[in-house]
Each structure stands twice: as structure tokens, then as C-alpha cells.
């Protein structure tokens, strides 16, 4: 308990760090809380910055290399900020056999985005998910957190265009 209660200052004065701090406190600043803390950061800030990684390393007394290793091992953690809108495409098997692959090609052709990339203007991020478990609705896409399913490939394309152009 002695070594773990030392106070480490967050990277900046952002009040949201309190949430991250609370997560670490709840786990008694144990090194086993690393993944839970990374989740907390991503939920709070939308991504895990370099500064955040260092802050966690110091707070939980874990080598920065290990923190970086864990953060990059798991697909869910974004180390770069995401765009204003996020388009996630499920590429699970059921979605795949129903044409999700064609949508990956479409995103490349239409918006120049490969999975994981964001448009230069920071408006749109394209992600792929390894099965969101809504296979009964395949193919499934997630437009800013909203699950959209049971569409044909052409209908999907139309829906994506409509959604992207919505706030123009």
C-alpha cells in the first residue's frame, strides 16, 4: 500500500483525468488494473494518447514499454484521435458472406480510406470490427454507434453516402 499511494500528476489540467484517476484508485493502483485504466481513458477521451500512456505507467508503477506493449496488443485501443464521425463495418463471417468485403472496397474508392484511417480533414474515420455479435442482422455496420443491419450492399452504400453528407 505504501508505494502505490504516491501522487502522480495527470498530463494536463483537464478535469476528465479525475475519471481515470478514480478507476485506478478503485483497483488500489495495482498493476493488474492496466487494461481497465486504458478502457477508462479511451471511454473518457476517445483515444489513448502518448501522454496518457506515460501517466498510467507512472501511476501504476509499470515500465512504459509494457504499457505501450499492452495498449498496442489489443485492437480496441486507438492511439490516435478518431474523426468527428466513425464508421465501423463488421467483418465477421456472416457479414463477410453477405458482402461486407465489397463495402471495404467501396470505402477505399469513395473516401480513400483503408481500415483504421481517418480523412485528412478529420471528419470521418473508417474502422472494421471483428464481429459485433449481431450476426442475425448481417451485414452490419455501425454509424456513430448506431447499429444498422439487414441491408443489401447497394442499400448500404446509399445509406453511407446519405449519412456522410448529412451535416454538410
Amino acid at each position: 500500500m505504501v508505494a502505490t499511494t504516491r501522487k502522480v500528476n495527470p498530463p494536463d489540467g483537464d478535469r476528465r483525468w479525475k475519471i481515470v484517476e478514480a478507476t485506478m484508485r478503485r483497483h488500489g493502483y495495482a498493476s493488474t488494473a492496466l487494461i481497465e485504466t486504458l478502457h477508462s481513458i479511451q471511454e473518457t477521451f476517445g483515444f489513448v494518447s502518448r501522454e496518457a500512456l506515460n501517466y498510467v505507467a507512472e501511476s501504476l508503477n509499470i515500465p512504459p514499454a509494457k504499457v505501450f506493449g499492452v495498449a498496442t496488443f489489443y485492437n480496441l485501443f486507438n492511439l490516435n484521435p478518431v474523426g468527428e464521425h466513425v464508421f465501423s463495418l463488421c467483418t465477421g463471417t456472416a457479414c463477410y458472406v453477405k458482402g461486407a468485403g465489397e463495402i471495404v472496397d467501396f470505402m477505399k474508392e469513395e473516401f480513400g480510406l483503408e481500415p483504421g484511417q481517418t480523412t485528412p480533414d478529420g471528419k470521418l474515420t473508417f474502422m472494421v470490427a471483428r464481429c459485433v455479435g449481431a450476426c442475425g442482422l448481417a451485414p452490419v455496420m455501425i454509424l456513430d454507434g448506431e447499429v444498422v443491419g439487414k441491408l443489401g450492399v447497394e442499400e448500404m452504400k446509399a445509406k453511407i453516402r446519405e449519412w456522410v453528407n448529412h451535416d454538410k
Binding site: 480496441l76 456472416a94 450476426c135
Partner: protein, 538 residues
């Protein structure tokens, strides 16, 4: 909590539900929710209130009703009417028809094989209870098994009952559950753990998500019984962060169970104490492998290690640990309630009970099904699934996710059990079943799975890290029609190498999609082999 107190809660809840003449249940699982079932629920509640029917009609949200393809689904009890593809606009009409002639155009025929051929155990309460109310679970007999076990059974008697049931691990490998429990129970140590593997990473599978969303208390009860049997005092549920609703409902269930004294110190007034915490996965398929999962719970990169020692001897933080899958735990309360022999009556000689499958792909009735072991694949695909839609032809059914294989038409009469599927070069896996029609190219399918395994390889051992990349590239050569006879030979040798030399299940099973397509659809590979030598090489 004593048995009498539990019965009192149960009776009060049943009375409450019987006071009303109709119960309208709205599916609130991820599938139907994404088709706006929450709006239907709200519209129903508002309309019932407006019509002053609160004392006659109970509107409640329930878990998965199974037939995801027809969602959002609403069920009307006690009449047993199911409505499909509901919209908030349909609400007045169904309320008008209560007790009268149902709305035919929205009605689902519940006499079709999709419903009649199933046999429910793990999904017994799915679509019946409100997953966010512990009282509703208690009203169906929930937690009675736990109290019975704690007051009447010794830990070894619990294990005997599980052994008698013949239950095998539903995560896919099919290890006898009772045997695993007794190994952990016999292991030396003051501190033991019970872990629930809810890291359902198989693309095409959503059984565990559905069980957690529909009936979280059932899984929790199974875990508490397991903890009592093996002597554990701390449990973890390792669940995918991609399943936010399942996480939320399970957390609610834990809080409710704590409040009622089913978790915590001196459970139900006995010396037994047990706590459960949730740990979120972060998108790594390999974490479904038990040793990798335990690494992840400890906050590390989820990399598997060699077994033995098995987690039963040395698991989480080096302590004896019981790891079981969601569906395995979900089967436990009924086994203890009805006895091991009752469970063993269903199924085949070596595979007892029922199995939940996620039936998807090119099949009419996509959704979640639970069937007795021993049912044939044909019955699942054609009777329950309703066959391939759009007048297309059935080509294969893919079972077991990336670790499984593709089964062709001529083998559809194979009974579904652990050994038979393995003999076909596929496996039970966690229970994903994806139907493929004649439009799919089997090399594409194999390459799709190989891409998955390649990207999800943790990178620890060379055969898997390097082998999967090479296999993926080789399949690409076939797709581009650049492959030679030699490449086919290499492909087969490499499959064999990756399978026999990889460290964990991910690598060992990675070649399965290739091997099974090579076995059953070899002509597709042969057709893509380059026939003549290109001019520049000649």
C-alpha cells in the same frame, strides 16, 4: 436469504404477473434493439397507460426470442402469439386485437420447425424473463438450485451431480465439466478462482452475448455454484468490450445478487463467501484461449503459455483456477435443480444435453437456436433454418469459427456432437454456424479465415506468426491463378506444420478452414492452378 424467503419473493412476483390478463414481451437483445425495439417498448408503455390498461396489461422487456431475422419481435402471453418486424405504428393495432383475432400479417407461425424442433435449457428463460430484474428470475425458480446446494449438498456431491450429467465444456473443446471441477477442487491452496470465459471472439457466433443479455442471473448462479464446489472465493467474468449491453446487464445482475445476499460474505447464512468482478476484453481473439485470458485478467498482453501446468493447478496469479464458458455455467442451475440424470437424458452417448448455435449466413431463419445434441446438420439447416433463400443452392456450412471447417452437402446427415464434427475436420467450437451458398468461392472463404488468424495471432510462437502469413499469401496465389502444383504441395505441408507445431489452440486450429476446403472442395483449388507456363518464363 433462506429457501422460505426465496419462495416468498417468487410467489409475490408470480402473483404480480398473474394479476394482469396479458403480458406483452418486447425483445430487447442487441439484434432487436438495433431495429428500434426500444421505441416499440416505449410506445407500448405509453399506449397502455393512455388506454388505462395498466392493471390488465404488463409490458416488459425480455431477452432474445431467437428468430433474429424477423426482429423486432414482440410476444403476447398467455396467448402465445409472436409478432415479427414490429414498428411503433403497429402498437395500437396489437392492443386492439388483444384477446381477439391476432394481426395475421405480422404473426409468426410458432408451429414451424424453427420453434418446435428446439429444446431449451441454457436459453430456457431467454425471451421470458426481464434480464434486469432479479425477482423475475427468482419467479422462474432462479437461485433455488443455489440455496439447495448450499444447504443440502457438500461440494463433492455437487461435483458428482455435474459428473452424472455428462456436461462437457461448451466453449468448444468439450472437456468434461465435472472432471475439470474435481481437479480444481482437489488442487491445494487457500485462494482459488472461478473465471467465466465470455470472450466470444469467433466471427459468426453470438450465443454467449445472447445468454448474458437475456439471462445474466443464470450464468451468475452457475458460477456461484461452481465456486462452492471447487472452493473458490473470487470470480471474474472476462467479457468482450464489444458487447456493451451484455456487460451492463451482467453488472446489474451482480449488484442485485449482492443486495439479496447471493454474493458476498456468508452467502445465505452459510460459511461460504464469494465475490464476482467483471473484466473487459479489448479486442484480441486469442484471449478466448484460457491461458491467454488469464494473462489478460492480470493486465498483461493476452499471450498463451504452454500447458501443463493447467489453470486448474496454476492459473490466475498462479492459483488454482476454474475456467468455463458462459453456456457451460448457464447449464449448471438446471442440472442441480433437476439432477444430473435429468440432463443426461438428452443428447447422444458421449455428448449430453443441448447446444446453442448461432445460425447465420445464407439461411432463411437466421437467429439463435438450442437443439439436442445428435440432431443432424441437415435438420438444422433445412428444417430449423428453413434452407437457403433466393432460390440459391446450398454449398457448405461452416462450423466452429476460424478454428473449424466447412462441411459440404453430402455430409449434412452427420449428427451434431463433439466427435462427429471433429471427424469431419471441423469442430463444435463455441457454436457459430454459417451457411454458405453457391455464390461463395471456397478459396475466398478459407483466405478470409486465414486473414483473421494471421491478424489475431499473438505473435509469440513462430509457426503461428509466420505460418499463417505464408498460408494467407499462398491462398492469394490461388485466387490470382498464379499457383502451381508445387504450391498446392507446400500449402498442405505448411498446414500440417502450423497445426502440429503451434503453441496454442489458435495456431493449431488455424489451418482447419484450408484443410477442410481442400478435403471437400479440392476441385476449386485444382481449377485455379496455372495450367501453362507463362511466356516470359518459357
Amino acid at each position: 436469504m433462506t429457501n422460505e424467503e426465496l419462495l416468498a419473493i417468487s410467489e409475490k412476483e408470480q402473483e404480480l404477473q398473474q394479476q394482469v390478463r396479458y403480458r406483452i414481451m418486447v425483445c430487447s437483445s442487441t439484434g432487436c434493439l438495433s431495429s428500434r425495439s426500444d421505441e416499440i417498448l416505449a410506445a407500448l408503455e405509453a399506449e397502455v397507460k393512455q388506454r388505462g390498461l395498466e392493471n390488465e396489461v404488463l409490458v416488459k422487456k425480455v431477452g432474445c426470442l431467437g428468430l433474429c431475422a424477423a426482429g423486432p419481435i414482440v410476444s403476447i402471453q398467455p396467448d402465445g402469439i409472436l409478432y415479427k418486424e414490429m414498428t411503433p405504428e403497429d402498437v395500437p393495432a396489437i392492443l386492439d386485437r388483444l384477446g381477439g383475432e391476432p394481426l395475421e400479417e405480422k404473426r409468426i407461425d410458432t408451429h414451424q420447425p424453427f420453434f418446435t424442433r428446439q429444446k431449451k435449457n441454457a436459453l430456457e428463460n431467454a425471451g421470458v424473463v426481464d434480464p434486469e430484474r432479479i425477482e423475475d428470475y427468482i419467479a422462474t425458480g432462479g437461485y433455488a438450485a443455489l440455496i439447495k446446494v448450499l444447504t443440502e449438498f457438500s461440494p463433492s456431491e455437487v461435483i458428482q451431480e455435474v459428473q452424472k450429467s455428462g456436461l462437457r465444456g461448451r466453449g468448444g473443446a468439450g472437456y468434461p465439466t465435472g472432471l475439470k471441477w474435481s481437479t480444481v477442487a482437489k488442487a491445494e491452496g487457500e485462494q482459488k478462482f472461478v473465471v467465466c470465459n465470455a470472450d466470444e471472439g469467433d466471427p459468426g457466433a453470438f450465443m454467449d452475448r445472447s445468454i448474458l443479455e437475456s439471462d445474466p442471473h443464470r450464468v451468475l448462479e452457475g458460477m456461484i455454484i461452481a465456486a462452492y464446489a471447487v472452493g473458490a472465493n473470487q470470480g471474474y467474468v472476462y467479457v468482450r468490450a464489444e458487447y456493451p449491453l451484455a456487460v451492463k446487464r451482467f453488472r446489474t445482475a451482480i449488484r442485485q445478487a449482492e443486495k439479496m445476499g447471493f454474493l458476498g460474505q456468508n452467502i445465505c447464512g452459510t460459511p461460504f463467501s464469494f465475490k464476482v468482478d467483471v473484466r473487459l476484453g479489448a479486442g484480441a481473439f486469442v484471449c478466448g484461449e484460457e491461458t491467454a485470458l488469464l494473462q489478460s485478467v492480470e493486465g498483461n498482453r493476452g499471450m498463451p503459455r504452454l500447458r501443463p501446468p493447467y489453470p486448474a493447478q496454476s492459473g490466475l496469479f498462479g492459483k488454482p483456477t476454474l475456467v468455463n464458458n458462459v453456456e457451460t455455467y448457464a447449464n449448471i442451475p438446471a442440472i442441480l435443480r433437476n439432477g444430473g440424470e435429468w440432463f443426461a437424458q438428452t443428447g447422444t452417448e458421449k455428448s449430453k444435453g443441448t447446444k446453442v448455435f448461432a445460425l447465420t449466413g445464407k439461411v432463411k431463419n437466421t437467429g439463435l437456436i438450442e437443439v439436442p445434441m445428435g440432431i443432424t446438420l441437415r435438420e438444422i439447416v433445412y428444417d430449423i433454418g428453413g434452407g437457403v433463400p433466393d432460390g440459391r443452392k446450398f454449398k457448405a456450412v461452416q462450423t466452429g469459427g476460424p478454428s473449424g471447417g466447412c462441411i459440404p452437402e453430402e455430409l449434412l446427415d452427420t449428427p451434431v456432437d463433439y466427435e462427429s464434427l471433429k471427424a469431419l475436420g471441423s469442430m463444435m467450437g463455441s457454436g457459430g454456424m454459417i451457411v454458405i451458398d453457391d455464390r461463395s468461392d471456397m478459396i475466398d472463404v478459407a483466405r478470409y479465415f486465414m486473414e483473421f488468424s494471421m491478424e489475431e495471432s499473438c505473435g509469440k510462437c513462430v509457426p503461428c506468426r509466420v505460418g499463417t502469413v505464408q498460408l494467407y499469401n499462398l491462398l492469394g496465389k490461388f485466387q490470382r491463378r498464379e499457383a502451381t502444383e508445387e504450391d498446392l504441395k507446400t500449402l498442405e505441408e505448411l498446414c500440417d506444420l502450423v497445426r502440429s507445431a503451434s503453441l496454442c489452440g489458435l495456431g493449431q486450429a488455424a489451418p482447419n478452414p484450408i484443410l477442410s476446403t481442400l478435403k471437400y472442395f479440392r476441385e476449386e483449388y485444382l481449377a485455379k492452378i496455372r495450367k501453362s507456363t507463362p511466356v516470359e518464363e518459357a
